[in-house]
Amino acid sequence: MPVPAGGIAAAAWLLLALPALGATVLLVGGRRTNGWGHLLGCLTIVAAFGYGLALFLNSTGLPVAQRVQNLHLFSWIPVGNLQVDFGLRLDPLSLTFVLLITGVGGLIHIYSIGYMSHDRDRRKFFAYLNLFVASMLLLVLANGFVTLYLGWEGVGLASYLLIGWYQDRPSAATAAKKAFLMNRVGDVGLAIAIFILYTHLHTTQFTEVFALAHTLSPATLTAVAMLLLLGACGKSGQFPLQAWLPDAMEGPTPVSALIHAATMVTAGVYLVARSHPIYDLTANGRLLVTIIGTITLLIGCVIGCAYDDIKKVLAYSTVSQIGYMMLAVGLGPVGYALGIAHLLSHGFFKAGLFLGAGSVMHAMDDETDMRRFGGLLRRMPITAVTFGLGYLAIIGFPGLSGYFTKGAIIDAAFGQPGWRGWAFGIAAVVGAGLTAFYMTRLVIMTFFGDARWKKLRNNEGKDYHPHESSPVMTIPMVILAIGSIGAGAYFIIGDRLANWLSPSLGALAPTGHSPLSGTTLTVLDLVVIALGVLAAILVVGRRPVPVVRPEPVSWPVRAARADLYGNALNEALIARPGTWLDRALVFTDNKGVDGMVNGLAALFGGGSGRLRRLQTGFVRSYALSMLGGAVLLVAALLMVRFS
């Protein structure tokens, strides 16, 4: 049971207020804030980070029973027996996320000072970034589902604004719209889950819902779990709603790092972990989470192998890594903490990778096609080294972050009973191999081999002049690289993170009995990774890379290049029938519904036009009709009287 927040935590609303204030000042202030807007933007986040750190340290000093704190701010939507409070829940899980969001987010803010220095609207960009951080903090700090939903959609809004940053490009505008729409599909799922919880429990606050969750029927629990998963799929780019995430790379690269690597897309994992009292009670719901995670991780890996666009490869790598996290949290008490651990270490190395990619793009005049890169190691050593560390971390090189966090997930997957252990475990290992392949391919094509750009011209017809980025950009990359080295080991060894999170997620359950011993698994994992790296070296390292994408190619590559037909499927199943339906409805409304109204009017109009013709103007014909009428009347009277 949460205790009321006191002491330093009583002002935790500052965490939200600081970035929200930053966004408001920058948006309302307009051009007046151009000079110092970016500094204010960074300052609010750094201050929030500092405060978050203080809260975190404060919390570690508390007895375990008091680490889950509740801060009631005000009554938001009180109607009848529905009492939606606006409040914050400060517990190890939310504080961990606060540190991730403000920490990595702060670094990305600082990086953006350099990256966006040529943009006229830089302060607006920082306003949006602040808005994003505020929404994300609200999402993780919320103490009820409705408040979470507020942050949830706020994040969607901020991502819409940031993806569509270059809004005069139709592709960016379309990508932003697509992201928002697919998120909204997931949001509807989350909303309906809230309705179901309210219907049965008459509350939407976490504490009450979780305490009463066991009173729900199994069918209801499964329904809620599936709807929450739908929300998570939308926000986290999981199958079948994964198509928006790669398109979202239309935004500036810091946006990709902030939203689509470190924070926003992890919201789905957070939601499942946060709702663990519900998932604990429904094995079917958990199984579905695991299956979705497994499918997504494979889809992401396969497509990632085929792309030549550096940001899209990283985007699909995000899709697949989040698949790992979903897989982990779907395993239940065995995996919640592992999923969060991978999420955190992924936050470091993926942000580092994206910032590195941004640095490369900055150097290469916003070029993203890796076939035009090559041999950049010498020109941009800091970027290359930090990127390389992130790369080693993501493929699971022994000793780095990914090795520990991903390895733990693979162990836990194999520990599942029966066919599940084999299916999920093998999928996770295959995914690791594919990850090694496409990441190695990316690194080789970008930093090693021939400097293919020397023979090419950029969009404006000039030569490329790659150069190392300014310190304001490289320093965040260095810090993130350090994080990608050490974070994993720190979290996993001795179950440090799991123990810290236990007040929020329950104690870490021991991994089930695995058919393969721990050592065998580690060796298997490493061998598969090595094979992936080797394959990549053979494919792109040993042969010259053609600057133009080779065509035609075998069908697996074609399918992967077409996003495994995900977009085509959306197009055929939803977009095109929707357009037809829309046109049909517009036609029906104009010709059918309105046609009936106008038809009625025309009927009256036409009818009276005909009847008018009886008025001939001849007095004698009027007289005749009067006489006829009189005779008829008299006849009728007589008939009534004498019949």
Binding site: G617, R620, L624, L627
Partner: protein, 99 residues
């Protein structure tokens, strides 16, 4: 003499008037026929007053006469005005007031 004859006479007069209104074109003649119909009705009213021994029928007849007198004034004035502008007293020639 039974009152029925008076009623038959009035019916005859009314029919004559009605047929006249319907078949004649000259406005004056039509007008006269209308007067004929009115007076036929008057005759009926008076007859019924006599039959029923009540005065109200006769009073009604006086009303009709007064109205008819007023009508004659206005009607003739209209016919005169139309004749002056159109040089015709045929009712079929003035049919402007139509659809």
């Amino acid at each position: 003499m039974t009152p029925t004859y008076y009623l038959l006479l009035s019916a005859l007069l009314f029919t004559l008037g009605a047929v006249g209104v319907l078949v004649r074109r000259n406005a004056i003649v039509v007008f006269m026929c209308v007067e004929l119909m009115l007076n036929a009705v008057n005759l009926t009213l008076v007859t019924f007053a006599r039959i029923n021994g009540s005065l109200s029928g006769q009073v009604m007849a006086f009303f009709v006469m007064v109205v008819a007198a007023a009508e004659v004034v206005i009607g003739l004035a209209i016919i005169m005005a139309i004749f002056r502008t159109r040089r015709s007293s045929s009712v079929d020639d003035s049919n402007l007031l139509k659809y």
